[in-house]
Structure formats: structure tokens, C-alpha cells
Symmetry: C2
Subunit: 430 residues, 2 copies
């Protein structure tokens, strides 16, 4: 059964992930050949800094001319682990045009240009696989687009950024503030020198767009994803969460509306009950909770980043794409037939935990309750705490739309007796 002519693979990028891909292709060569049905050969590695020593990679394979590499014409698969939009995008479309299928780990690019890349792949009859783009090693794209292909996914609720989960977990377990926890994450290598993409939710938003697109068979653009970072989460928020029997996680949430006619995608910090499986996801781990009509509740858990875990996902795709090449076929392409409208954040319905600083005098609660009622936001519980002439009021609502909650908060700010809105946190996973 084994074909002897090897399948030719080019690697674009040889950093933390790429070097692991190359290493495993070498050390596991016999296993990969047996599983694919033909040997795979690494025929070129495009890098920016050719002078850096790359253990285990023959120097003759290394080139700085990525364009020439993808234009060779004899490549079976191009593995793109450069990241970012350009030159990755042009290299991928060039690879398709010159006969190669593509395995990518590039969440930013897939989130922004997935539809165009799928179109290019289809035009040339090639595969585009990107399991590694979301949640690192965790098999997630394939289960969503293949295992659940006969089911109707209603919600995807995930911790898809390890850096922020490390920080929030540290704040939860030690009582540390945001900056202190971030400093520790940076010192331990869990956060980059510029942590903006992680802590402001850009990374998670890209993954949310990809997950929502696959889950709902609908194109979801990055701009469709409502995004709030987690830099303003405080130790006091964690104390409030504990009183609720909750913790706080930065969640990527993709939901089908109750009537099934539209979807939403968003990233923000949220309280989640300690009894929810996502609450116990520690450190830099990722986990994604999927709710569907028939399967019910599923969870996928594992390392969301790192060289070897991400390489595992890349190599799983590489094996699949190579098998497809040998069979003369391609795997499932883009599935966006449902084309559901993506609703704005105002239409998202959830619960809210709101802390208000108010004057400590009679009638304040009545005023506040009236504002909630006027905006159609029903109150579940209120807790009042007095302290030296000031008081805090903690309101937990029933389910209400984000627009109604926004209107409520705007009106609360205008009350003389409300000194400030200390925090607003959504409550998810109930």
C-alpha cells in the first residue's frame, strides 16, 4: 500500500511552532509515513533570519525567499506558521495557485480572510486546514465541522486565550490585582512584552469569529465580534464573584438566538458558576464548551498554545491533507450556506452583576429599582452594604438584552443618589 515517492512539504516560518513541526516530521517520520501511506519530505524552510542555528534542519533547506519556495510547483503541502496577515496571505494564495494544499496556524488571517482563502483553495482544488489556529492542540475545528456535522450547535463558550486565563486564575487564587498577575505572567513567559493582543481580547476575538463561522455555517467577520478586554477586572470583582459562587473568565461566546434566526459572537470577561466545567480550567489551559441540540453539552480541554501542542494540531492536519492528496480528493471546504445575520451586541441576552456606589439614605433602592423596571430589566437579587455614609448596592438581574442593560446603566448614572457604577459584569454559563 505504501507509495515510495515522498509527499513534498514546505514550511513557512521556523519559530517556536515551526521548529517543533520540523522536529516531529523528522523524529516521527516512519509513523507519519505509515499513517499517510507515503513518506513526507521537508523540502524547504522559509525563515527571516537564516543565520540562526536550527537544530535538526539541514542548512540546505533553509531559505529567505518564501515566495520562490511556494512557487516551486512540486509541493504537495505548504505549512504556514508565520502568523500575521502579510506576507502569509499572499504566500498561501500563491501556494494554492502553484498546486499545493495549505495547513495554517494563523488565527488572525483565517478570521480576517478565511472566505477568500477558502475560495482560492476551491478554485485550485486544494485543501485549507487550520486546526492549530484555535485553541492550540485541542481538536476543535475538526470535531465542530465533522463530528457535529449532523447536529445543530446552539452555543460555543470557550476559554481560548491561555495568557488571560493564567492572569485571571492567578487573581482568583491569590487575590492579586491585574497588574501584579500580569507581571507574573510576563516573568514566566505566559505573556508577551506587549500583551495587548491577549489582554484586550483581540486574539480571542479572532478565534471567536472562526468558531462562530464553523459552528453556525455562516460567515462571521472579525468586526462582527463584540470585544472587551480584561484589564479592568479587579480583585474586588473576584470578591463579588466569590459571593455569587462564581469565578471570572475571559470568554469567547458564540450563540444562536433563541428563534434560530440570527447569531452573535463576543469576547468579554464574565462571571461563571464554580460548578461549570469551564470554571476549573486552570493556568494557561484552554477549554471550549459546546452546546448542541442532539449531543447536549460537550467540552474540549487542553493546552491552548506552545510549540509542541500547536505542532500536534498542525501535524494532524498535515496527515489529513496528505491522505486527501493521495486519494485525489479534498476535505470539507467552507460551509457558510446558512448565511445567518450576525446581530449586534445590543441584542445579546444574558444576566448582569452590577455594583453601584450610592448615597446611604432611605429611598435609594426604590429609585434604582424604578430605573431597572423602566428599562424592562428584571432584578433577581439586590444586596445593600452601608459604610460611612456611603453604601454599595449589588444588583443581579434576570436575563435582559445588552441594549436594555446599557439604557439602564445610562439612566442610573444620571441619578443624584448614584455616585458611580463600580462594575458591570455579565454572568454566563448558568
Amino acid at each position: 500500500m505504501m507509495r515510495t515517492r515522498p509527499l513534498k512539504v514546505a514550511l513557512l516560518g521556523c519559530g517556536v511552532v515551526g521548529s517543533e513541526v520540523a522536529r516531529i516530521m523528522t523524529t516521527q517520520a516512519a509513523d507519519l509515513a505509515a499513517r499517510i501511506g507515503a513518506p513526507v519530505e521537508l523540502v524547504g524552510v522559509a525563515v527571516r533570519r537564516p543565520d540562526r542555528v536550527r537544530e535538526g534542519i539541514a542548512p540546505g533547506l533553509v531559505t529567505t525567499d518564501a515566495t520562490a519556495l511556494v512557487k516551486r510547483g512540486d509541493l504537495d503541502v505548504v505549512v504556514e506558521v508565520i502568523g500575521g496577515i502579510e506576507p502569509a496571505r499572499t504566500l498561501i494564495t500563491t501556494a494554492f495557485a502553484h498546486g499545493a494544499s495549505v495547513v495554517s496556524a494563523n488565527k488572525a488571517l483565517i478570521a480576517q480572510d478565511g472566505a477568500a482563502l477558502y475560495a482560492a483553495a476551491e478554485e485550485h482544488g486544494k485543501d485549507l486546514y487550520y486546526e492549530a489556529a484555535v485553541a492550540g492542540a485541542i481538536p476543535l475545528i475538526r470535531p465542530l465541522r465533522e463530528s457535529l456535522a449532523g447536529d445543530k450547535v446552539n452555543r460555543v463558550l470557550g476559554i481560548v486565550n491561555g495568557t488571560t486565563n493564567f492572569i485571571l486564575d492567578k487573581m482568583d487564587s491569590t487575590g492579586a490585582g491585574y497588574q501584579e498577575a500580569l507581571d507574573e505572567a510576563t516573568a514566566l513567559g505566559y505573556a508577551e512584552a506587549d500583551p495587548t493582543a491577549d489582554v484586550e481580547g483581540f486574539d480571542a476575538a479572532a478565534k471567536a469569529a472562526i468558531l462562530a463561522g464553523i459552528a453556525f455555517h455562516t460567515r462571521v467577520r472579525l468586526d462582527d465580534v463584540h470585544r472587551e478586554g480584561m484589564t479592568e477586572v479587579t480583585a474586588s470583582d473576584f470578591a463579588s464573584a466569590k459571593e455569587m459562587g462564581c469565578t471570572i473568565k475571559l470568554l469567547a461566546i458564540c450563540e444562536r438566538a433563541a428563534d434560530g434566526g440570527s447569531v452573535t459572537a463576543r469576547v468579554h470577561p464574565a462571571m461563571i458558576p464554580l460548578t461549570h466545567p469551564l470554571a476549573s480550567v486552570r493556568g494557561a489551559y484552554n477549554a471550549v464548551f459546546v452546546e448542541s441540540d442532539a449531543a447536549g453539552q460537550l467540552m474540549f480541554y487542553g493546552p491552548g498554545a506552545g510549540g509542541a501542542p500547536t505542532a500536534s494540531a498542525v501535524l494532524g492536519d498535515l496527515v489529513a491533507v496528505c491522505r486527501n492528496r493521495l486519494a485525489g480528493t479534498t476535505g470539507p471546504g467552507e460551509s457558510a450556506y446558512a448565511a445567518l445575520p450576525v446581530s449586534p451586541m445590543g441584542e445579546v441576552v444574558t444576566r448582569y452583576h452590577i455594583s453601584l456606589d450610592v448615597a446611604d439614605k432611605p429611598g435609594v433602592l426604590a429609585q434604582v429599582a424604578t430605573v431597572f423596571a423602566e428599562h424592562g430589566v428584571s432584578i433577581d437579587t439586590v444586596r445593600q452594604q452601608g459604610k460611612d455614609g456611603e453604601a454599595s448596592l449589588v444588583v443581579v438581574t434576570h436575563r435582559a438584552s445588552d441594549a436594555a442593560l446599557d439604557g439602564t446603566v445610562d439612566a442610573l448614572r444620571k441619578l443624584d443618589t448614584v455616585r458611580g457604577v463600580a462594575s458591570i459584569m455579565r454572568v454566563e454559563g448558568e
Copy 2:
């Protein structure tokens, strides 16, 4: 892109799972057609009792002649949800011979005859898919054989039987004994009238054989799986587990030996630390923990049984098989190239928690410790508790082979000062 001639599907069995498969094929017909690229049509349903009313299934489709159904010659896919060895096996091979691919949920059959069925599928160029055979709705077979195809799996540790997990969870949370917890499971419909297959570990052993085969690319027969049931787990064992910071789960464990040259598969109750992700799997849920070289630790969690969850897995396979039919190809077949030897239980290495009833007099601990030492089993901790002239001795060992532990226990039983071996429990997941 849409082909208009429908793909023809026959359903063998219309019980809890089959009726859900038929229901979803009807209610989600448009989605299934869009995802496959052609409509799917249910053309026949083989049942034993044709007089039973089957909501939503046209009476004309129902037949008691399953053999004639699979011999029609125009079927694209046969969905087998009868269970058991015969007539399922003959129907499946007949289906292949008459041109159909097969989706099965039959763990007992796949565990016993998987290799022969794969061979029959390959002979006729057809697909055999069986995601639903292990852990119900949880995508597990596809992630193991596709997502992790570029990785090296070293261990699979799973809760793959919901009935026993319900019983053990109940014993853990309420302090109930085995019989009491079983009675509740039966009353709630989680246990069958004859619970033998579940509580004696036969069901889990079939799943362990399937998982080990896929994880290690090696044929693992049902006879290769060491099996111990959980009927002898007591409330006292749970008390011991709590003292260790553990709970007790019935685990299916598939391991590659440290030297990589052999594998083992086993099912037995075991203590597992409360900090392990499997420890918090409640009720009838299933979860499977996978450890691999590159990906690290992954966990897959969800409902392990039930009509709709199992149907979700069946339909995911149905979509995949239909896509393969349209593309004129087949998915990955059996992968048993590694052909590693399966070692007997004696070679399994793990830790043990042993409770001994001993005479309450000086020198007993020294005698007991000598026996462990003579058999090369190193002791981690010992706890001695006196009570009215009798005493109990709780020994937790370091890692040792099952054979060495067996020898130790045999020798301990021969000591005059050892009145009895109250319990032996393995400690896993550390």
C-alpha cells in the same frame, strides 16, 4: 454544487438511538443536504416489532426483513444501531458486499470483530465509521484517528461508562453503599434491569479495546483487556480515598509502556486525585483524558449515552460517509501498522492503596514492611489505626508492577498477624 439525486440510507434498528437518528434526518433534512452536498433519503427501517408505532416514520419504510433491506443494492449508507454481535455482523458485511458504506454504534461488535469488518469494508472499497461506539456524543474516535494522527499517544484514561459513574458519584457524594446507589440508578433509568455489562466492566472493556487499538495503531482484542468490575467498591473505600485527597472512578486505561515497545489495556475501579480533571466528572457523564508526546494533556467531555447524544455521533459519521461517497473516496481505514505486543496485566506499573486488618501487637508493621520489601514493592506511606485489639494498616506504595503487587498480597495473606486484606485499590492519574 448540490446534487439532486438523494443518497439512500437504510436504518437497522429503531430503538432509543435509531428513532432519534430518523427524527433528526427528517427535521434537519435541509441542513444535512447543505452540509453533504446532496439530500439524504431514509429508504428503509429494519425493526423486530413492526406493530409498534414509530412517530415520524412512514409505515411503508418499516420492514422486519433486515437482510433484504441491506441487499437492495442501491443503498449508499447502512446505519446499524441494533447492537450485539449477530445479526449485526452479518448485516454489516452483507451491506458492504452490496455496495453500501456503514455507520455503526456497536461497541461490542467493533471491539470483537473490528479487524474483520475493516477488511470487509476495504475489500469492497467502502467506509466503516463508528464514532458512536465509544463515549456516545463525545467526538473521540475522529480526534484520535485524525486530529492526533501526527502525534504519539502515550495514554488514554477514561470514564467511558455512564451507569457506573452515576453509581460511584452517588456513593461519593452521599456516602451510600454500592447496592443503594445501584438501586437509585435503576430507579432513575441509568442502570438496566440486569446491570452486569456495566457494573462488571464489560461495556467499558469493549470501549478500552477500541480506544487502545486506535490510539496505538495496534489490534487490541477484547481478551487483551484486563477487566475488574466495581461491585466490590465500598463506602469504606470512599472514606479511604477522601483521606488520600482522591475519589474513586471506574477507569478504562490504555497505556504505552515506558520503553514504547508494548501496550496495555485495562478496566478497573481506581483512586484518582480530586485535582485531576476526571475527578469532577459527575453523574452519567463520560470523559476521556488523552496524553500524547506533542499535544500534552487533552480531555474530551460529554454525555456518554442516550438516544439524542448517540444519534449526534451517528449523524456526524453519516455526513462524513456521504461526503466520501460523493467525492468517490473513503476515509481512513484500520491503522494497525504498529502491531505492538499487548502485555498482560502483570506488567502494568502503577501505585496501590492496600487496607489490611492486622493483629494489634508490636512487630506487625515490621513483618508487613518486610514482605513488601522482599517483593520489590516500595512503600510510600503507612497509616496504622488500632481498635479493640485489632488494627488496620493502610499502605500506599510507590509505582510497582501488578505482578509484584500480587506476589506481595499473596505473601501478606500467609502472615499469621494479617487477619485479612480488606481492599486493594490502584491509584491513577498522578
